[in-house]
């Protein structure tokens, strides 16, 4: 058999926790030019990590994510105007302390990247972007905001970013901070002391479909390792485990969260990706808007659907989808066994005529046409919890 891991090259970029991951015995892979843990055999591997996040809590190093700060220049309003111009969601609706999912678009209405916009202050925004698109994104932001009265700063290397994810994430983090975590709503953030580090950004965000937090700590190795170790120690009573990018992918796939280069790319527009509710056409002009108006008038040629396999076989990225007549009609963007559902699931682009739930499709797996059907998405939705108990 061929080795699953990509060979390591010295030019791969490393997060401040790289040495720690290696000490933990993580399996490392090349992810978008980064040397990242894909799974930790000491955690029990990918499926065990996945289940820990669904059932209790898991901890991810996501320091490879990029961070771009945009602040107003001489006068107020410049930063907001710039963000409104380059992002499709309506940042004017954000209160200070609030974030939302958004995306930067090309003039064609396709994706530069998806991101989270946090409003740090009236005139101060933080854009959290993908690792594989960092340089492209920062160049794009600089180029497209140069006519605005704003200051753009690349803070990507300033932070070690940890994602603490799962229903017990709040109980874990509560042990390490003085912040009243129940006061932070989903997609909001605050600053507070975490592991003795003052003014730490704590956001109630994640990429797993579970409740959870992402914390931003200084990127020096000593602080990074100290925080990681304290988080793991605090998580011991909840059986917290280190989690790699392998389960990050299965978790986000079950929750139908897009991955750049798969569900979204420079070839796919907002309507096709089904991200309409994050795209605010009425907010005024922004890069990509005109093309999206045209695309809307022209109608959809393909749309993103969830599918689950009926026959034995696992649909994988880039496999072909066929109709019953055997004609190629679409392509899988992400596919994997679902550890939660114990089914083989996938996301795929198909013509709208094939998008109704229950529609039979065939996925071509190594020359064999394997039966599948369109399934409701998200595949997994976390159970609604009763109001969390108040901290005393």
């Amino acid at each position: 058999m061929e080795s699953a891991a990509t060979p390591h090259k010295s030019e791969l970029r490393k997060t401040p926790l790289n040495a720690l991951h290696r000490r933990l015995g993580a399996k490392m892979v090349n992810f978008g030019g980064w040397d990242m843990p894909v799974e930790y055999p000491s955690s029990g591997g990918l499926i065990a990590e996945h289940q820990a996040v669904r059932a209790s809590v898991g901890v991810f190093d996501v320091s490879h994510m990029g961070d771009i700060r945009i602040r107003s220049g001489r006068r107020p309003g410049g930063a907001l105007a710039a963000v409104q111009h380059i992002c499709m969601n309506d940042a004017s609706k954000l209160a200070v302390g609030q974030g939302h999912y958004s995306a930067m678009l090309y003039p064609e209405g396709t994706f530069v990247d998806d991101l989270i916009v946090h409003r740090l202050g009236e005139d101060d925004f933080l854009l959290v972007i993908n690792a594989g698109t960092r340089e492209k994104d920062i160049n794009w932001v600089r180029e497209n905001t140069k006519n605005f009265d704003c200051v753009v700063e690349d803070l990507s290397d300033a932070y070690t970013q940890l994602a603490i994810q799962g229903p017990r994430a709040v109980d874990l983090l509560r042990k390490l901070t003085d912040v009243e975590l129940n006061g932070i709503k989903n997609y909001w953030f605050t600053h507070g002391t975490v592991c003795g580090l003052k003014n730490t950004l704590i956001a109630r965000t994640g990429y797993t479909g579970e409740d959870g937090f992402e914390i931003y700590v200084p990127s020096d190795v000593a602080s990074s390792e100290k925080v990681w170790n304290q988080v793991m120690e605090a998580g011991r009573e909840f059986a917290a485990v280190p989690c790699g990018l392998g389960c990050r992918n299965t978790l986000r796939l079950e929750s139908k969260m897009a991955l750049y280069g798969h569900e979204i790319s420079d070839k796919i527009n907002v309507w096709e990706a089904g991200l309409d509710r994050y795209c605010k056409m009425e907010k005024g002009d922004f890069v990509g808007r005109a093309a999206l108006e045209q695309a809307r008038a022209a109608g959809l040629r393909r749309t993103l659907v969830g599918i689950e396999m009926v026959d034995r076989g696992i649909a994988r990225d880039e496999y072909c989808c066929c109709n019953q007549a055997g004609d190629a009609i679409g392509v899988v963007t992400s596919g994997s066994p679902s550890p939660t559902l114990r089914k083989n699931i996938a996301l795929a682009y198909v013509p709208p005529a094939y998008s109704a739930v229950g529609t039979v499709l065939y996925v071509e797996i190594r020359g064999q046409k394997c039966k599948a059907q369109v399934a409701p998405t998200p595949f997994y939705k976390r159970p609604k919890k009763a109001a969390a108990p108040r901290e005393s």
Binding site: M1, A4, A5, H8, P41, G45, L46, I314, R316, R366
Partner: protein, 133 residues
Amino acid sequence: MAYPKNYRYTKEHEWINVAGGLATIGITDYAQHELGDVVFVELPKPGAKIETAKSFGTVESVKAVSEIYAPVAGEVIEANGELQNTPEKINSDPHGTAWLIKVRLTNAAELSGLMDAAAYEAYIAAKGKEASA
């Protein structure tokens, strides 16, 4: 996990154990470890011919699809049907109950081109060093 002394090994991490003209083939402990949680196995049917260094099946983990290459040429006598329902056995017992196929060898002389346990252990140790460099 120990690598049985009486097996022979390939650079692609298959093992082969020959007894009386009949060979049993599987993937090594190193291979299952690299793959992670095995969730799916696809094997040839009895009667199928396998060709040296050509793919005869696939083993899939959650994350990846891996081709399995034939250490030698031969005819498939039996495929391990139990793996269809319990592919995870490949993680727990790769050198034993999780064998993949039994094969009648075309040319037993091919075995001499494969590594013995000591050579294979040295081979994967060198790979490990490469990875952590």
